[in-house]
C-alpha cells in the first residue's frame, strides 16, 4: 500500500502526468490523425499481419484459402534453400547495385552541372525530369521498341556506326537482358538523384567556395573538401531511397521481359508476383514477401535515422 501511495505521490510531484492521463487529456488531438491512421491500419497494418500469418501456411493453388494447412517455417526453409532464390537474389543485387550506382553518379553530375545560373536552366531541369514523371509502363514499351531485334533503332545505329554487322538481340539474350534493363531503369530514375542533389547543393554556403578560391583551391579540391562534406546527409537519403525503389522494382522488368529469358531478369518482386498471381501460391509467396520485408525494414531504420538526426531539434 505504502508503495502505491509513494508512487502516486511521486506522480503528483513530477511534472509529467502518466501516459494514460495525458492520452485522455489529449483525446481530441487523436481525432485529427484518426482518418489517416484508420486507412493506414486497414491498407497497411492489416496486410502486414496477414502476410506474416499466411507465410506459415501451405495454400492450395486456388483462391480457396480456407483449405490452407499450417506448415510452420517450411515455406521459409524451402525458399532459402532453393537454387532459384539464390539466382533471383543475385539478379536483384546486380540490378539494384548497378542501377543505384549509375543513377546516382549521373544524377550528381547533372546536379553539379546545373548548380549555376544560366538561361534555360529551369527548362533543362524540367526536360531531364520527364522520364522520372512518365509512367513506367510507357517507358518500358518505348525502350522495348528501341531494343527491338528486327526494327530497333539502337541496333540499327550500332550497325550504321560499324559497331556490329547485324542487329543486336538485346532482350532475348541472357547475356545482355539484365544490362539492357538496367539502362532503362537508370534513364528513368537518374533525375530523381539529380533533383535531390541539386537541392542539397543549395545548402552549401557560397562564401566557403569564394574563400577557398581566394586561398587558391582548385575546382576539384573545392568539390572534395567543401561540397562533398555538405552533401553527406542528402547523399545518404538519396542512395537509400534509390536502393529501396530498385529492390522494389517491378514494372520495367515485368513489361520488358517478364523475368525472362531463362530467368535472367527475374528479381524479387517479379518472382513474388509470379508465385502469387500466376501459380496462385499465396502461402509461399507471403513467406517470400516477409523475407524481402525484413531486408527493407533494416534499411528503413537507417532512413528514419538519417531523416531525423538532422531534424533532431524539431522532432526530438
Amino acid at each position: 500500500m505504502s508503495g502505491t501511495a509513494a508512487a502516486s505521490r511521486k506522480r503528483l510531484v513530477s511534472r509529467e502526468p502518466g501516459v494514460l492521463a495525458r492520452m485522455v487529456r489529449h483525446r481530441a488531438d487523436y481525432l485529427y490523425v484518426a482518418p489517416a491512421l484508420g486507412v493506414m491500419l486497414l491498407v497497411i497494418g492489416y496486410p502486414i499481419y496477414d502476410t506474416i500469418y499466411l507465410s506459415f501456411f501451405n495454400t492450395p493453388p486456388s483462391l480457396a484459402l480456407e483449405d490452407k494447412t499450417f506448415v510452420g517455417v517450411d515455406n521459409y526453409i524451402r525458399i532459402l534453400t532453393s537454387d532459384a532464390f539464390l539466382e533471383v537474389t543475385v539478379n536483384t543485387l546486380i540490378w539494384t547495385a548497378f542501377s543505384t550506382f549509375f543513377a546516382f553518379v549521373l544524377g550528381l553530375g547533372a546536379a553539379l552541372a546545373l548548380d549555376k545560373q544560366f538561361v534555360g536552366r529551369g527548362l533543362l531541369r524540367g526536360i531531364l525530369l520527364i522520364p522520372y514523371v512518365i509512367s513506367a509502363v510507357a517507358a518500358a514499351y518505348i525502350w522495348r521498341w528501341l531494343y527491338h531485334t528486327d526494327f530497333g533503332v539502337i541496333g540499327a545505329i550500332a550497325v550504321a556506326a560499324g559497331l556490329t554487322d547485324r542487329p543486336i538481340n538485346f532482350l532475348d539474350n541472357t547475356e545482355t537482358s539484365l544490362g539492357s534493363l538496367i539502362v532503362v531503369n537508370v534513364w528513368k530514375e537518374f533525375s530523381f538523384a539529380m533533383i535531390m542533389m541539386l537541392a542539397g547543393l543549395q545548402t552549401v554556403p557560397e562564401q566557403l567556395h569564394r574563400a577557398a578560391q581566394v586561398d587558391g583551391a582548385g575546382v576539384f579540391q573545392r568539390f572534395w573538401h567543401i561540397t562533398m562534406p555538405h552533401l553527406k546527409g542528402v547523399t545518404l537519403v538519396t542512395v537509400l531511397l534509390l536502393l529501396v525503389s530498385n529492390l522494389n522494382s517491378f514494372t520495367i522488368p515485368w513489361i520488358m521481359t517478364a523475368g525472362g529469358p531463362a530467368g535472367s531478369t527475374d528479381i524479387w518482386i517479379t518472382a513474388i508476383y509470379q508465385l502469387a498471381f500466376e501459380r496462385i501460391r499465396f502461402g509461399i509467396s507471403s513467406a517470400y514477401s516477409v523475407i524481402v520485408f525484413i531486408v527493407m525494414m533494416s534499411m528503413g531504420y537507417f532512413y528514419v535515422r538519417a531523416l531525423t538526426r538532422r531534424d533532431g531539434a524539431r522532432y526530438g
Binding site: 482518418p35 489517416a36 491498407v43 502476410t51 509502363v137 521498341w145 524481402v292
Partner: protein
C-alpha cells in the same frame, strides 16, 4: 568567378549536359516519330529515320469514340482521371488534419506514430499485394475503382503528411493564437490563417499524389480484370497484347498516356520538386 582551369570545366559541363539531354530526349523523340508512321513504315530495316508520310491515323484510332479501340482507350483515360483525382482529393483531406496535429499537438505516441508513417516509404509494395487483394475480395471491392482509390490514397499519405507537417512547422503558432484571441475558433483560425499559408504544401502534395496514382501499375494489374474498369498503364499493356505488331499505335498510346502528367509537371515543376526533396535536405 574566373579561375585557373574554369574554362576547361565549363566545356566539360556543357558537353556532359548535352549528352545527358540527348540520352533523356532521344527515346521520347523516337516514340513520337514512330507514332506518326504507318505500321508498314515502322517495320523497315534500316529504319525510316524521319517519317516520309506523316500520319495521325493512330491518334484518331485511339481517340475516336467511333471505333472499339477508341472507346476502350477513352474509357481507360476517363478511369485514370477519375481514380487519380479522387485519390488525390481524398488524400489531401485526410493528410491535412493529421499533419496539422503532428505539427501542433503534443499527444502521447505522436513520435511513434509519425515514424511509422515515415517508415511506410520503405515498405515493399508487394508485401501488401496479396493480403490487400484478399481484403478487397472480402470487401467486394475487387474490380471496382474504389479499391485503387483507397490504396493510392493510403500510399500517398506518408509523404503528404511529412510534407505538410514541414509547412505547418514553419507557420508560427502565434498567428493562430492571435486570431483565437480575436475570437476565432480553432477551425476558423486553421481555415483562414494556416490553410492559405500552407497552400504551396497542399499543391505539392496534390501533384505528387496525382502523378503517383496516374502511373501506378502493379495494384491496378492485380485488382482490376474487367476491361471497362482498367486504368491507362494496364490499358497500355492490354493494347500491346491485342495488337502486338502495331508499334506506331503503342507509341501513340504511350505518348497520350504521358502527356497529362508531363504537362501538369512542367506547369507545377517547382511544387513537384519540393515534394520530392522536402525533408531530405534540411541542413
Amino acid at each position: 568567378m574566373k579561375s585557373r582551369g574554369s574554362r576547361g570545366w565549363g566545356i566539360v559541363r556543357v558537353a556532359f549536359l548535352a549528352v545527358l539531354t540527348l540520352f533523356t530526349l532521344l527515346p521520347m523523340v523516337w516514340m513520337l516519330l514512330t507514332s506518326l508512321k504507318t505500321q508498314f513504315a515502322a517495320s523497315q530495316y534500316p529504319p525510316e529515320w524521319w517519317p516520309k508520310n506523316v500520319t495521325f491515323e493512330q491518334y484518331s484510332l485511339l481517340l475516336s469514340p467511333a471505333t472499339e479501340t477508341g472507346r476502350d482507350f477513352l474509357r481507360y483515360m476517363f478511369n485514370s482521371v477519375w481514380v487519380s483525382l479522387a485519390s488525390t482529393v481524398l488524400g489531401v483531406i485526410v493528410a491535412v488534419p493529421a499533419a496539422y496535429a503532428f505539427s501542433r499537438f503534443r499527444f502521447p505516441g505522436r513520435q511513434l506514430l509519425f515514424y511509422s508513417v515515415l517508415l511506410r516509404n520503405m515498405f515493399p509494395a508487394v508485401v501488401f499485394l496479396m493480403p490487400l487483394f484478399i481484403l478487397m475480395r472480402w470487401l467486394h471491392l475487387v474490380n471496382t475503382e474504389f479499391s485503387l482509390i483507397l490504396t493510392y490514397l493510403t500510399f500517398g499519405l506518408p509523404l503528404s503528411i511529412w510534407l505538410l507537417k514541414g509547412f505547418y512547422d514553419n507557420i508560427p503558432a502565434q498567428l493562430e493564437q492571435a486570431a483565437r484571441m480575436d475570437g476565432a475558433t480553432r477551425f476558423q483560425a486553421f481555415f483562414q490563417i494556416v490553410m492559405p499559408l500552407s497552400s504551396p504544401g497542399i499543391i505539392a502534395t496534390a501533384i505528387y499524389s496525382f502523378i503517383l496514382a496516374w502511373n501506378e501499375y502493379l495494384y491496378a494489374l492485380v485488382f482490376l480484370n474487367d476491361k471497362s474498369k482498367l486504368t491507362l498503364p494496364v490499358g497500355l499493356q492490354r493494347f500491346f497484347t491485342e495488337y502486338t505488331t502495331n508499334w506506331p499505335g503503342l507509341m501513340a498510346a504511350s505518348f497520350i498516356t504521358s502527356v497529362p502528367v508531363v504537362v501538369l509537371f512542367l506547369i507545377l515543376q517547382k511544387y513537384f520538386v519540393r515534394a520530392l526533396t522536402e525533408g531530405a535536405v534540411k541542413a
